[in-house]
C-alpha cells in the first residue's frame, strides 16, 4: 500500500443468499483513498454502495458473504501501525479497535442506528466512555458541544430527548454527532444529508470539511445529490451493478465523463433551469444480479452499446493519470463516440458559469 493511503479496497466481491437465489451484489470493486482526501461514491440505487461500506465496517447481514478481496486499512494512531486487512478481523476486534474509534459511519437510515429507548445524550456519550474511558462530566460537556456543532438549538434540553421526539433531520444530525464523538480517522457518510434542508446541509458539509482539515481525516461520501458531490469531493467513483464503472477527479467526472452510465446519470439530474415536460431517465431497469451477467452489465440500457458489450466485460481503460472508465467505447478500435449533445450543452453551460465566476 502506498505511504499515505488509508484505505485500499482490492477486488472485493460479495453475494447474498436469498429465496430467489444467490445475489452477486458486489462484483469486483477496487479503489484507494488517501489520508485527508474525500471520495464520493455515486450510482444507481441498489448498485452496492452501502453493502461495500458495510463490508468495511464488518457488519454485513448474516445472509451475505465475502467471496474474494481485501480491505486494507492503515492507521496513524499509536497502537496500530501496520496495514491490516479488515476482512480478517473478528467481530470483537472490529468493535474494540476499529468501529467508532478509527472508522465511523453515518448510516443512510438514521432510525436504524439509533437506540429508540435511550436518550440521544447517552448515545453520544457511549462511544467516548467505551473507547477512551472519558469521565462522565467531560463526556456530557463534549456531547452538548457536538450537538451545538451540528446545529441543534436547545442542546442541553435535547440531550434528554428520545429519537422519536426529533425530526428526521435532527436524528440525522445526532447520528453525525455520534460519529464525530471519537475523532475517527476515516468517516463514512452514507447519504448524510439526504434528510436535511439545504441550509443545514451546507452547514454540516462545511463542518465535516472543517474537521477534516483540522484532523486530517479521510471521508467517503455516498450521495445521490450531485450538487453535494460537486461541493465536497476530490475524487468520484461511479457504481453500476456491483462495480465501479468510472472513477476520477471530480472535475473529470463532471466535465469529461466517459462512461455511458455516467452520461445518463448527469443527464437525469434536473437543475434550476429544467422546464421539460418529462425528466430524462435512463431507459430500462438495472440487471437482476441473481442471474449471471454476461459482458457489460449496462449494455442492455446503453444506446451506444457495441457488439462486444454483450459478450465480454470491458476492462478499466485509463483516460488520464487519475481518470479511468470501464467501457469498450474507449478501446482504440471502437467507433468514436461523443457524449449526448444535450449533456454536452449542459457541460458547456457549466464551464461557462465557472469561467464567469472566476472573473
Amino acid at each position: 500500500m502506498e505511504k499515505n493511503t488509508i484505505l485500499s479496497i482490492q477486488d472485493l466481491s460479495i453475494s447474498f443468499t436469498t429465496g430467489a437465489g444467490e445475489v452477486s451484489a458486489i462484483r469486483g470493486v477496487n479503489f484507494d483513498l488517501h489520508r485527508g482526501e474525500t471520495i464520493a461514491i455515486v450510482g444507481e440505487s441498489g448498485s452496492g454502495k452501502s453493502v461495500t461500506m458495510k463490508a468495511i465496517m464488518g457488519i454485513l447481514s448474516s445472509n451475505g458473504k465475502v467471496n474474494s478481496g481485501k480491505i486494507l486499512f492503515s492507521s496513524a494512531k499509536e497502537d496500530m501501525e501496520e496495514d491490516i486487512d479488515l476482512l480478517k478481523l473478528d467481530k470483537k476486534e472490529m468493535r474494540r479497535k476499529i468501529n467508532g474509534k478509527r472508522i465511523a459511519m453515518i448510516f443512510q437510515d438514521p432510525m436504524t442506528s439509533l437506540n429508540p429507548v435511550m436518550t440521544i445524550g447517552a448515545q453520544i456519550m457511549e462511544g467516548m466512555k467505551w473507547h477512551y474511558k472519558t469521565p462522565k462530566k467531560e463526556a456530557y460537556k463534549r456531547a452538548v458541544e457536538l450537538l451545538q456543532l451540528v446545529g441543534i438549538t436547545d442542546a442541553e434540553k435535547r440531550m434528554k430527548n428520545y429519537p422519536h421526539q426529533l425530526s428526521g433531520g435532527m436524528r440525522q444530525r445526532v447520528v453525525i454527532a455520534i460519529a464525530l464523538a471519537c475523532n475517527p480517522e476515516l468517516l463514512i457518510c452514507d447519504e448524510p444529508t439526504t434528510a436535511l434542508d439545504v441550509t443545514i446541509q451546507a452547514k454540516i458539509l462545511e463542518l465535516i470539511k472543517d474537521i477534516q482539515k483540522k484532523l486530517d481525516i479521510s471521508v467517503i461520501y455516498i450521495t445521490h445529490d450531485l450538487g453535494v458531490v460537486a461541493k465536497v469531493a476530490d475524487y468520484v467513483a461511479v457504481m453500476y451493478a456491483g462495480k465501479i464503472v468510472e472513477k476520477g477527479l471530480v472535475n473529470e467526472i463532471f466535465y469529461e465523463p466517459k462512461h455511458p452510465y455516467t452520461w445518463g446519470l448527469l443527464s437525469a439530474m434536473p437543475d434550476l433551469d429544467t422546464n421539460d415536460d418529462k425528466l430524462y431517465t435512463i431507459p430500462g431497469t438495472p440487471p437482476n444480479l441473481v442471474n449471471k451477467v454476461a459482458g457489460d452489465a449496462f449494455a442492455p440500457r446503453n444506446i451506444f452499446a457495441l457488439n462486444i458489450d454483450n459478450r465480454l466485460e470491458p476492462p478499466m481503460f485509463q483516460v488520464s493519470e487519475t481518470h479511468f472508465a470501464s467501457t469498450w467505447l474507449l478501446h482504440e478500435n471502437a467507433p468514436k463516440t461523443e457524449m449526448p449533445v444535450e449533456l454536452k450543452a449542459r457541460v458547456e453551460r457549466m464551464l461557462g458559469e465557472a469561467k464567469k465566476d472566476g472573473e
Binding site: G168, H224, N275, T281
Partner: protein, 307 residues
Amino acid sequence: MENKQPLLSVEGLHQHFKVSRSYTVKAVNGVDFVIYPGETYGLVGESGSGKSTIGRSLIRLYNPTAGKIVFDGENISGKMSKSTEKHLRTNMQMIFQDPMACLNPRKKVLEIIAQGLDIHHICKNKKEREDMVYQILEKVGLSKEHANRYPHQFSGGQRQRIGIARALIMNPKLIIADEAISALDVSIQAQVVNLMKDIQKETNTAILFIAHDLSMVKYISDRIGVLHLGYLVETGTTEEIFRNPIHPYTKSLLSAIPHPNPIVEKSRVSVTYNYVTSGIDYAKGSQNHIEGTHYVLGTKEELEMWA
C-alpha cells in the same frame, strides 16, 4: 384553478408536543393553506420546521392542537365518524420520510404493499391482488421477484420505493410525499417524478410534496409554501417564489442550493439567516400580499426593509 373547490383546506393549524412539564415543542403555529385537485403543493423549509408534523396531522396520526382541516368536503380535524375515517384512510396516503421505521420488518413486500387493499377489501380475489402489486412494483422500478423479500433485504432507495408503491396502489385523491424521493438516485428520482406526474394527469391526484431538494420542488410544484419554525413565512406560485423571493429565510434557502458544478460550487458561499439575531418575531407578523398569489409573513416595517 382559483374558483374550483379545494380538495384540502387547512386553517390555523397548530400542533404542539408536551415533552415534559416545563418543555413544550411548538412544532406548528397557525398554518393556513389549500390544495386543489390535481395540483402539486411543495412544502419546503428548515429541518425541524414542522413539515412532517403537518403531514402527520393531516393524516391524523396526531390530534391537532387547534385548527380546522377540511378534506374532500369533510371536516377531519375533530373526532371523526367511522365513515369519515374510512374516507380519509383510503383517499389520503402518506409516503413516510423514514422508510425503515414504517415498514413491518417481519412482513414480505407483497403483504406490505397489499395492506391497504386488504384492510378495505378492495380486491375480489388473490390473483387480482397479486396482479395489482406486481403492476405497481414495476411502475416504481422494482420487479416481481422483489415481492417475496423482506424490507431489510433491500437497498435504501429500493425500500423507499416500497413505501411509494404502498401509497400509490390505493389510488388516493391526495398523496403526502414526505421526502419521498430524496433517497433515490437521480435517474430513479426522475422516473418516480414522471410517474407521479402521469398518475396525476390520469386520476387528478393532488400531491403535497415535502422536500428539501429545491430543484426538484421547483420542477414538480405548482405552488410552494416556505415553512420556518412552524410558520409559513412565504407562499406563492413556484414562479413567484423563485423569481422574487422576499423573506430573508427564503432568500437564504434559495442561495444554499448546491449547484452540480464543481468549480463554481467549491468557491460559493451562501447567504446565512439567523432568526435569533435577526430581531424578527414571527408571532407579530401578518400575511402581506405581494402580487398574484404571493404572500409574505412580517410586519409593515419588516416588509419595507426586505423590499
